[in-house]
Amino acid sequence: MSKEGEIDDRGFKRDLLASLPNLRAFAVSLTGRHDKADDLVQDTIMKAWANQTSFTAGTNMRAWLFTILRNEFYSQMRKRGREVQDSDGLFSERFSVHPEQYGRLDMQDFRKALDKLPDDQREAIVLVGAAGFAYEEAAAICGCAVGTIKSRVSRARTRLQELLGVSGESDYGPDAGDAAITARAFGS
């Protein structure tokens, strides 16, 4: 094990930079919005920088950064008095974005569906399915058991299937799709 502080500053900055696009994509996934995501990333960079001596050289910086960002996200949510949903509830309005912002219709539908997932399921499927973490790493980032992550990922997949519809009929306009999605989600 190398001593703390042995990592040179350039290396730290370089690795941090290299992780930023991925970290930012995680932030967008969590917040559902680019502007909020970038504020979150900025706070994370500041925290990471201030705590760089607590980063152990040679370990996974990306996982370390993701952990900081995730903690920051939930701590900010708590400060705002918003409840962290743990079930199917809370159809938040945060995905009511300008349609053109996120490209094709099917991708818009996907983003909406992703946003409708409970936070714990969303972060799990994003960490494992997109950010490139192993189940064990995702569990460490979220501070829970590996089995918990696995079941969250599995539930997230099932829920996304329900929301998007296997037949792909959610390719219509957002409003028409919403009604169908809502009916399906609450009907099951």
């Binding site: 930023l20 996934s29 399915g129 997109a130 099932t158 296997v166």
Partner: protein
Amino acid sequence: MSEDNRKKDEMTPTQSPEVRPGAVQPNASISRKLREFYDAVQDEGIPDRFLELLERLDQAEKNAKAVEVK
């Protein structure tokens, strides 16, 4: 894009073993869309504000160290 759902096997991602066989096809589509969404954000690169922020942090630290050394 209903054809997406029919393109099953070519994009089949790594499936966890506990996934039910009948769920494989929609899962492939969902995994692909998830990565597509995520990659699109990643491909936006690093906004200037972060590069500038890191530059400032770096400079502030160098200045602080220079003071310490003296």
